[in-house]
Amino acid sequence: MKAAALALVALSTFTMCATGCYWSNPPSTPHRNEKIELAKLPELRTPNPRVLASKRLVVLGRFDSTASQPIGGLYDKKDFSISPLIRTYFYKDGAVEVYEHVSDGLRAAGLFVLKDYAGHAEPALLEAPLRARDPLLVTGTVVALQHDQIKEKAETSGFGEWEAGRFALAVKVTDASGAVRLNKTFLVEGRLPYNERAELLKVLGWTMAERLASDPEFVRAVEASAQGGAS
């Protein structure tokens, strides 16, 4: 009897200690992905950048990236047996895709933007014909890019299916001599109702452009001025 009791105590102790964190809260998302809580995210709408005017040419360097893979996952919070995370997604072209959309959004805002695909809008690497036009240089580093699909109980009734995303961009604006005018990180995040044609990265890119166009520091850095309402 004594041996059995000892065995029981030893087993329980071993079990408790071995886990290291008995009531722990383990990560429920892939490494470096954020746990997205739909209720806290704004619903994204069709971006409508405010109209700007600037006489300066803006060269937007190809975005580089420090973001991670997987880019996101499919979460089914209404029906799962082990974890809501059903699968993870790999998409290595994410940074260049949002680059295209941010550029389009800034052009829609009225800025004259040219993309520097081969470079990163480095002042030292400006070619002579472009330098002669005295452009302002905008470099962007994608520091976070996440795209999840989430099924969960809807806020009212039934179930909801959502696309949710998060996009952080470190922006630097310099002039052709290399003088830094702005160094700032911008974040956009939000959700869209699931739709086969929903283009979340496009909406995130355009929303980022909208954010930039409404940021007084960015507007000042690219020597633009607001022209009243949205485009």
């Binding site: 329980s12 079990t15 993870t88 081969a118």
Partner: protein, 363 residues
Amino acid sequence: MKRAVKYVVRSAPWLALAVAMLLGCGGPKVTEGNLRGPEIVRAQVPRRPQVTLHVPQVVDARPADEHKGATVSTKLFVFFLFGVHIKREGNYITDDFAASPNAAAELHALAVESLAAAGVAKKVSATSTGDFDLRLTIEHLYGTHFAANKQTIVVVGSDRSTDAVVDVHAHNYAGYGNVTLKAELVDNREGSPRVVWTEHVPGYAQRPAGELRVQEVQFAVQLAVSDALATLSQRVSAALDRLGVGPSGPPMVLASGGAFPSVFTIERMSRYRDFLERVFVETGTGRVVRHEILPAPDRYASRPGDWLLSRMTAEGVQLSPEGYEAFARALAGRYDLRQVDDAAHYHFFGVQGTAAPAAVTLP
């Protein structure tokens, strides 16, 4: 009381076995990792490198969690007297042993090898000084996979026998390799070193989910390193080409009043950025003389689907920026060329006056 004790004694081996299983005893053994993966596939392009390149020792600036790694050990663990229920969930992350105990040194050697094989410079050296220094810092380098499983063992006993009911659910997820290098190109040609280019160069890989997930994750790290180094070669080449000393050779200078090439080239990126389509057009007649499709040397060189006036002549010589401008101006009398949204290329919309533009970049 005696019966209860007897029951516990009988159940103990089952419970001990369950705990041992659930704690991962007997799991796959992790072997020491290294960063050398498969050969890097390169686009076959002629190289005429102009300068020498020195790659100093690589700086390892990874966060601590990529050195020490993580196992899927954080879990909710509920222990009952008559059974065990364990739920495991979380991320496996390679540690220094699984990724590579000598990551900085290995990456340095691989970078030198890869840049030299890509023909980026006349000489790529790990030790001697060069016209340019390429400083590399490892910001991220790890493999990871998510994991989730739950297991329940209930011991069912009587006076005569003890049995267990085991319920196991596991879900495998894909493995990923992630590498981020910070690269700085330093120009040493004019005495005082000057940083001319800085960029974060990522490398990614995905491997299938399965039983051999740790090995797959280790392989994903190797593939991600190869991916990053292939991108690094391409980006360093582009930076050196911008300075006119890159592997594309000395650019061809064309004067406005001089003779222009008899054939010009237009190109567009394929939808999924895998291929570059090139069409060679006779300058005088507009007749297409050749059409070729080749692996895209740079997947992100332009927006897919847009026809651009190439900066490459039919003979494969890169035009200087001024030469390209002059050539475009000369062609513009006959062909519809417009600067839409690309700083380095004109969009091509066909022969003047024959058709509406086939593609217009928004807005």
